[in-house]
């Protein structure tokens, strides 16, 4: 065998792999570190109402891109309605209209929201937008009294807003405030009121309405807070406390004192907002949004596959890494295993069960399987039917274990079904032959060897970093291939061989 040929092959594979790797890394800016999962939210507004033979016109505020959130994939589900989206003064609205309709109606607005912090210039408030205090008579007097009093006790905008909300939030806010708030002092009313009061004091403020982006929420309540314009930027204030700043996961739906939905010709209007959170890989998103440059090369990359297939390849591409380490374990270290690649398959199933559970389930299955194999031995069955019988028993056992662990509330056990059952049956058969022919010690030794090999390959295959690398840079497989080819000509001692021949070296040195 020509060694130069071998080195040339391995060298060129490695070179091609490295060139592609660095090209993608440096020129195409693929991330080297495991990608961060980002949250994306699906938001939905569902409008229901009764239409009464009259033309229907419904308009609803919809969120716009902000410094924190980007709105994507908007769509409007509305059978038969004319739909248009308008933007004025930075307020986005969807308008649905239909000339003739009857009975219960449903309109939907769907969108995807992504968290994306970016530096956008603050929205400059237009003069016309400034709220004019819409107050008369006693209300105007009460307002003036209230704001003057609060203002006197404050030093700056922060303390003014805090003082104002403190006043409005107290159970007995005093005559003037009680008059202004009316009987039902809702948060929205307080916010609207403070906008007007601040306008009296010459401070530009506005009411903001939005939702809390939670993990999952049907009928998400609308949250109201206050924004005050100061020194070229809008500052948010929480009405409950009057303290500056609102949680980062508040999504602004609309601003101003208007209602979310304006409608004509409808009865029993109901709006419900909902939110569902999911995780998506940041890189995938970046590719989809066109943030990462998309040269032709990328069209042939794994990112061009459907997401489900991608998920499969995330796992499949780990197999070569596992196999490489198995080659090292067998040919360099000298661990003996049942079946050449059985440990890799077991390691793959450990990914689902987690390590500890995987080991427990594996040993339980093999243990019980061996007992049953021992019993079948008494029946003197022929080899192939016996193997088939073991396979059937293994599958039955797996089903039983799943049900049992589920009943016990141990959800992990259910994933036992992912064990490669044919491989398990073969392992049991092989192990029992070794047991018979070479004794229990050998069988257990090889069994443990397989398990240890599976554990090690599992530990390597679960390193997030490796998973990321092989998926984003599949050309690494060329380097893995080169390493495997080189290992194929490794002719040094195996590590465990040293122990085997240790007696030899001791004898010699004694003489």
């Amino acid at each position: 065998m020509n060694k130069r040929h071998l080195y040339l092959l391995a060298g060129s594979l490695t070179a091609i792999g490295l060139i592609l790797f660095f090209y993608k890394l440096i020129v195409m800016d693929f991330p080297l570190i495991p990608e961060v999962k980002t949250y994306i939210w699906s938001i939905e507004a569902h409008l229901t109402f009764e239409a009464g033979k009259k033309p229907v016109k419904v308009s609803m505020f919809i969120p716009r891109n902000s410094r924190r959130f980007t709105i994507m994939n908007e769509n409007f589900v509305s059978k038969g309605y004319g739909v248009s989206v308008s933007t004025e003064n930075g307020k986005r609205r969807v308008h649905w209209s239909i000339r003739k309709v009857k009975g219960p109606q449903s309109l939907y607005y769907h969108a995807t929201v992504i968290r994306m912090d970016r530096d956008m210039l603050p929205y400059k408030p237009a003069i016309s937008e400034k709220e004019k205090p819409d107050l008369e008579g006693a209300y105007l007097e009460a307002s003036k009294a209230l704001i003057t009093e609060v203002r006197r006790k404050s030093a700056d905008t922060d303390s003014l807003v805090a003082g104002l909300f403190k006043r409005l939030n107290t159970p007995e806010p005093g005559d003037s405030a009680a008059l202004l708030l009316g009987k039902k002092a809702t948060v929205q009313k307080k916010v609207d009121l403070s906008v007007q009061l601040l306008a009296l004091a010459g401070i530009h403020a506005r009411a903001v309405h939005g939702i809390h982006l939670e993990e999952q929420r049907r009928e998400a309540p609308v949250i109201h807070w206050l924004e005050v314009y100061e020194k070229d930027s809008w500052l948010s204030y929480e009405p409950a406390s009057g303290i500056r700043g609102v949680p980062e996961d508040y999504l602004v739906w609309w601003r101003g004192t208007e209602e979310l939905v304006q409608a004509q010709g409808v009865k029993r209007l109901h709006v419900s907002l909902s939110v569902v959170r999911s995780e998506e890989a940041a890189l995938q998103l970046a590719v989809e949004k066109g943030i990462i440059k998309k040269p032709i090369l990328l069209d042939f990359s794994l990112f061009s596959l459907p997401v489900q297939t991608q998920a499969v390849y995330r796992v499949v591409l780990l197999v070569p890494i596992g196999v490489l380490f198995l080659v090292i374990l067998r040919n360099v270290i000298g661990i003996r295993t049942f079946g050449t690649f059985m440990p890799v398959l077991i390691a793959l199933s450990f990914r689902e069960t987690q390590l500890l559970w995987g080991i427990i389930l594996f040993t339980t299955l093999v243990g019980i399987g061996l007992l049953i194999r021992l019993y079948l031995e008494h029946l003197q069955l022929l080899v192939v039917p016996r193997l088939a019988a073991i396979l059937i028993v293994v599958i039955g056992l797996m089903a039983f274990l799943s049900v049992l662990t589920h009943k016990l509330g141990l959800e992990r056990g259910i994933s036992v079904a992912l064990f490669p059952m044919v491989i398990l049956a073969m392992t049991i058969e092989r192990m029992s032959i070794v047991w018979e022919e070479f004794g229990a010690i050998d069988a257990i030794k090889q069994g443990t060897g397989s398990l240890i090999a599976a554990m090690i390959t599992y530990l390597i295959m679960t390193i997030k970093y490796i998973e990321h690398l092989v998926f984003v840079f599949p050309e690494i497989l060329l380097i893995v291939l080169a390493a495997t080819i080189l290992l194929g000509r490794y002719s040094g001692f195996r590590l465990l061989e040293l122990r085997r021949f240790k007696a030899l070296s001791d004898i010699k040195s004694d003489v």
């Binding site: 040919n331 080899v383 070479f438 001692f493």
Partner: protein, 315 residues
């Protein structure tokens, strides 16, 4: 660890990876493997070459034949059953005698003809063959070993392993079964391995479970300095297996029958490396020497002479 590695390398100990990469892969063409992996074919080529093997009583290759086992075994009171393509001594059943319906195994336990039938079924369906391929079962002459070995073996048959490289016997040992190895001549399972001085056929120090012993642990008789009868013939047979098979690197397993003399038990294209422990020396220097000189060694006598001259125990 590195110290051991260095020491072993200095002694020229051959490891599995090196054996595979530099010897078996290079000198043993794949297409010749069936000659040695299938004991039936080994028997055929040995007989054709005029070398003695244990006589074949019968061949069982179908389930039908198993059912008519009684007819086949009628005239034999003792025999050995082996899978034709078994490896590592798996699946061998030796019957040393029989009463009416029952057969006695060498360890004295009795088994029924039904159990023998089941064992044959297992062999046929490939339980012991490489890759689980269907196999045949050989029923053959049970070797009665030379009385010389009586004091130093327990239950089983001691066999002689010779590593033959390019037709030159490079190293050899005798494997003595013990109680621990349950009559099997496998070092790994607790048999004794005693190196043999190729020059004169006497045993060198013996190794049992990685320790040096001078006496058989079960019988108490000395195992070193035992002179193996008919050594030259044994060596010659081993060396001839090179021409017989065309394989460059083989392990020849021989046995000395008290009536029939030296018989070839089986050949192995991937012989184990424990022989180095039994001989307390590495194979590599010997193999390298043969590689250097093998073109000069024209005929069988040259090769034997070369082997005895170079690989005999000095001092």
């Amino acid at each position: 660890m590195f110290r051991i590695k260095k020491q072993l390398a200095a002694m020229g100990v051959l490891g599995i990876n090196q054996r595979n990469a530099e010897y078996t892969l290079r000198y043993n063409p794949r297409y010749l493997y069936p000659l040695v992996d299938d004991k039936l074919r080994t028997k055929e080529i040995a007989l054709k070459g005029g070398l003695a093997v244990p006589e074949l009583y019968g061949l069982v290759g179908t389930e039908y034949q198993v059912r008519h086992l009684a007819d086949l075994l009628k005239s034999y009171s003792d025999f050995a059953i082996k899978p034709s393509r078994g490896s590592g001594g798996e699946g061998i059943l030796v019957v040393s005698g029989r009463t009416k319906e029952l057969y006695r195994k060498i360890d004295g336990t009795l088994i029924s003809s039904e159990e023998i039938g089941y064992h044959l079924f297992n062999i046929i369906s490939g339980m012991y063959s490489l890759g689980g391929q269907p196999d045949k079962a050989l029923i053959e002459y049970r070797v009665r070993f030379d009385p010389k070995f009586e004091p130093i073996s327990y239950l089983g048959v001691p066999d002689i392993r010779v590593i033959v490289f390019l037709g030159v016997p490079a190293m050899s040992m005798v494997r003595l079964p013990t109680r621990m190895s349950a009559g099997k001549a496998n070092l790994h399972q607790g048999a004794i391995g005693a190196g043999i001085d190729i020059a004169n056929g006497t045993t060198l120090t013996a190794v049992w479970r990685n320790q040096i012993i001078t006496e058989h642990p079960d019988t108490g008789n000395p195992v070193t300095g035992v002179e193996i009868p008919k050594w030259d013939t044994l060596l010659k047979i081993a060396a001839r297996c090179y021409e017989l098979t065309g394989l460059g690197y083989i392990g020849v397993d021989l046995v000395l029958d008290k009536d029939k003399g030296p018989l070839i038990l089986e050949l192995n294209a991937r012989p184990g490396l424990s022989i180095q422990i039994a001989n307390r020396s590495g194979l590599l220097p010997r193999l390298k020497l043969v590689e250097q000189h093998h073109t000069e060694l024209v005929n069988l006598d040259d090769r034997l002479e070369f082997s005895k001259h170079n690989f005999g125990h000095k001092g």
